[in-house]
Amino acid sequence: MAMTEQEILAGLAEIVNEETGLDAESVQLDKSFTDDLDIDSLSMMTIVVNAEDRFGVRIPDEEVKNLATVGDAVSYIAANQDA
């Protein structure tokens, strides 16, 4: 069953917390991964791979650079989950 955007956000926040130690509360839709959350490219890749596992999506490398904000990632996952 497809997850709601709220559920995806909560799951993503857990993944970000696991990788960076950032408080899950700070992972909000409008936050930029690099500018607001200070997540570098290698941590981003770890988050992407863990998100793929958790949400059953495939996020190709060339797509990762388009995921500037948490909201971008949530929308991408919502649109592509269990595809």
């Binding site: 570098d40 290698l42 770890t46 992407v48 791979v49 490398d61």
Partner: protein, 352 residues
Amino acid sequence: MPLRRKKAPAPEQVGPKPKGTGKITTRPGSRHAAVLGVGAYRPRRVVDNHEICEVLDSTDEWIRERSGIITRHFAGEGESVIDMAEAAAKGAIEMAGIAPEQIGCVIVATVTHPYQTPAAGPLLAVRIGADGAAAFDISAACAGYCHGVALASDMVRGGTTEYALVVGVERLSDFTDPTDRGTAFIFADGAGAAVIGPSETEGIGPTIWGSDGSQWDVIAQRDSWLEVRDQDLGWPAIVMQGQTVFRWAVWGMAPVAKRALDAAGVKIEDLDAFIPHQANMRIIDAMAKQLKLPEDVVIARDIATTGNTSAASVPLATERLIREGLAPRGGLALQLGFGAGLSYAAQVIRLP
């Protein structure tokens, strides 16, 4: 199930028939092979991140965070790949306790020997006193040394040579764009070597290896020599798509490491050391996490003060673990090389 092929009809015999009087015999090799000695050479010149940032738009902190590299070595002026290989090889031969003339084959793994031909191997053989040995280079980038160990161990067991020298050597500072934020702080120079020879018990497990040419461009010399010549493009540095390499290395190579353990019949908790290619500290850490390495397995982290020396990194790291007493001689180590061409090779070895 064995592959079944339709038998092709025998071609019509043309020309002379075989004499049929000779019969080929083979030369038996040693039942087992082992790494008998390792040697290393780190150029005298130490380059810290501040010096890198005199040209590169970056900071010491940024470089440490993203790579774990604090310092690296750059070769001196006129110090060639062969010079560095010679120094490392002598250390390996000394530890192995053999005479150089016993070496029947010299294999040099490098991507920075600046001659299209001849290979570095033949001149190295002469330099170390292994005159007349078979000698050649292999190009498998950061996986080159582990490819060399695969070839050498099979040669020793196959009877092609009694002793082989495998050297990983790079002078990457010649092929790095000092302004490239993806590579300038990563690549470095150095040489590591191993003598592979016969052994009473097995010292080198089966090699798990492969490549992915569909990702040929992920780590690559930017332009071919012909493009450089014909289009006046300037010196072709090595470029890298870091994120893609990171994903492949961590999540692609952890299963390779497990397969190498399985093939050798060794459990992860039997290991004394894990010696991955020193690509980036973040890759090493993430890989160790993926592998769920027990805490008592020493992880090679030579990259901090040596940088990424491509083909040289695994033997350099191995030599340090032994010299500094961090890993026990006679212990089991899993070594894993991976890099350009998305080539990889892994095997369990017994430390000399």
